[in-house]
Symmetry: C2
Subunit: 412 residues, 2 copies
């Protein structure tokens, strides 16, 4: 008898038939002797329609009211799923974020979860019911409705699993789990069976879209095993677990890419202490998330600073850069949107040198120029011209033998 939290996204609950299928799965899990708590997103398309309505009313809708509006999407799904479970003869009850006191801060539209009152949930489980909860939403100390930002349902599910000390948080998705690379680019991409939180964090932040990054952080923080699996089959998917439980410490677990960034270079900046702070302080103040940063070696007392931001933030980043260039001063500002970031991720890198060299050689062999490099303990990212994305992913995937049997660290 385990306590299982199951999370289903918008596509999995996209219409009445799919909601019925989800209900079937919840009831099967219950009938196998488990306690079940389900967390659901809004039906596919519902949130988009609500957001559109808000923007018909206001170009910049009040975040508090925005949350009151978009939270209705998940509220609809919890009621419909509870009905569908009851239709199968199993007791079920929907509970809103207000009812389970899913307390968040008041940072509307991107609130952070502080705590969850599990008493009501435990009552429902004790009477044999499946509890059905809305993802994505919370409630502030003042009783106002808040939301966690798009994709927040994964985070809700893991937070609920953490609060309940659940045995597993199952994230159902329309793919089989986490793959070694995007199968649209690399046809022989393989399912990863077990991956550590840290690897998953790198994979998620680098562009693998199966799992929301905040949910992985939560999972890591509270040690919640996360099982990413298909909503359309009973096959095991990918387990995201503590590093100690990853048996095969692969040198490279996966290859990811991100085509959603743009590059900005500020040329000829005086190479003096504090210059980075003067550039990136204003970016941060403007709410821009700067990713890769490279500063060239000094030449005649000046240097070039290059960084990447999300493409949607490029206009804003350029505006700030131009104004900085006049102020610092700098020689000029350039930008390039036609870039991609390609990364290899793997726990084994901690112990094994040579991965970067191997990666650079693979790219050099294909005549792919590396524009920027960024590394962490368990990943190496390179920025390159966008047109090389597929080629780079395919060659790296093959070079690290991800399509075949996994390369164990002993063999690397």
């Amino acid at each position: 008898m385990a306590l299982i939290v199951q999370k289903f996204g918008g596509t999995s609950v996209g219409d009445a038939d799919r909601i019925r299928a989800v209900a079937r799965r919840c009831v099967d899990t219950r009938n196998a002797g488990n306690d079940v708590v389900v967390v659901v997103s809004a039906m596919a398309g519902v949130t988009d329609r609500l957001v559109q309505l808000a923007h018909e009313i206001s170009a910049d809708p009040d975040p508090r009211e925005y949350d009151v509006l978009v939270a209705t999407g998940e509220q609809q799904t919890i009621a419909l799923l509870a009905m569908a479970i009851q239709e199968l003869g199993t007791p079920a009850r929907s509970l809103t974020a207000t009812q389970i006191r899913m307390l968040t801060d008041a940072d509307h539209a991107r609130a952070r979860i502080h705590s969850i009152d599990t008493e009501r949930l435990r009552e429902e489980l004790a009477r044999g019911a499946i509890a059905v909860l809305p993802g994505f939403q919370g409630v502030t100390e003042d009783g106002d409705i808040s939301t966690l930002g798009r994709g927040g349902s994964d985070t809700s599910a893991v937070a609920v699993a953490a609060a309940l000390k659940a045995d597993v948080c199952e994230i159902y998705t329309d793919v089989d789990g986490v793959l070694t690379c995007d199968p649209r680019i690399v046809p022989d991409a393989r399912l990863i069976e077990r991956i550590s939180y840290d690897e998953m964090l790198e994979m998620a932040s680098l562009g693998a879209k199966v799992l929301q990054i905040r949910s992985v952080k939560f999972g890591k923080q509270y040690g919640v095993p996360i099982h990413v699996r298909s909503a359309f089959s009973d096959r095991e998917g990918t387990w995201v677990v503590p590093e100690s439980e990853v048996m095969e410490r692969l040198v490279v677990s996966g290859v990811t890419y991100n085509r959603n960034e743009a590059k900005v270079t500020i040329f000829g900046v005086a190479d003096v202490p504090g210059i980075a702070a003067r550039i990136f302080g204003p970016m941060s103040d403007a709410g821009l998330v700067v990713d890769v940063i490279v500063q060239n070696v000094s030449k005649d007392g000046t240097t070039d600073v290059t960084f990447t931001v999300a493409r949607g933030d490029l206009a804003r980043a350029l505006e700030i850069s131009e104004s900085l260039a006049a102020e610092l001063p700098a020689r000029g500002v350039e930008s390039d949107e036609a870039i991609a970031k390609v990364s290899v991720v793997g726990l084994g890198m901690k112990d094994h040198a040579g991965v970067a060299g191997r990666m650079f050689k693979v790219l050099a062999n294909e005549g792919i120029n590396i524009q920027m490099i960024n590394t962490s303990e368990i990943k190496i990212s390179v920025v390159l011209a966008e047109k090389y994305t597929e080629l780079a992913c395919r060659k790296l995937h093959a070079a690290f033998e991800l399509g075949d049997a996994p390369v164990r660290e002993e063999e690397a």
Copy 2:
């Protein structure tokens, strides 16, 4: 400086443009120096779509979950309207039924309001904000979402007005107010300027659809002046007020009709004490609302009992009647759906005899047979063949001179 509660229905908030128009009106009222609380329905069509979704999942959805689902319609509107008011530079805040503790019983889908916590509302008003509330929904003692049943938004608005001791509850609608008769049938139907709660109750329950009957009861109970007016003009509409404030006690204020009833006759029932209870007890137990009841004089120790029910309940009423006929026993059961109830309503009837006679004579002159008669202190209803509905309404409207200057009681 008055405190005004304004209620807008689904058509008035049917899209972004209309929501903006409603916002404009709320702000104008605020800028005229009033405190404003707005109560809104779901956008036209939204509730229907949600109900359809529920029925795709379950033929008989759990009422508690049904309420969680349909309450989202109003929650969407309060957020959108608050945004639209803010766009006009006026502070506004949406508050859910949970937030204002609009406490109801747990009789889901037709809950009754017990109390409202006005503290939060008064806080918003004190800071100069327009408070935007959802009609139709409430919250139970247990914190579950409840709904008042369709059309409940009028009731919510009047209840809020009562709790706040508001100066007026304005019900905005797509007609000019309460008319002396349905203008589709009687082209010279006239706007009624003032009408008592009791007259309005008779008008509402008899088929005039401008105002939900429970809201009028609430208004009467707490002495809330209700102003029914057009959402599309600034003209005064109809004031629904205490009897003492109705200056012109008209003999007949209006003519109404109801084509949504059906007639059932149980023939040859033993005419003994307790027979009515034995017939109408089971009807009531089955949740059927029986309207007009007529029992003929006894003949050979037996009598015929005729009554009307809503057409949608006819099958169920017949089923019960057939089983009663076997049990009582009775000679047989007959039914007729092709009937209509036509009524004249007026405070002046309390003091003036002769209205019934005049009504019957008008109908007789047209060769219209009266099948059943039912009277109260301030109304006379007759059941007749449905095909005569329009003719009867037109002739009665003319006979009581409702299309011209109102007939005052002195003149009647």
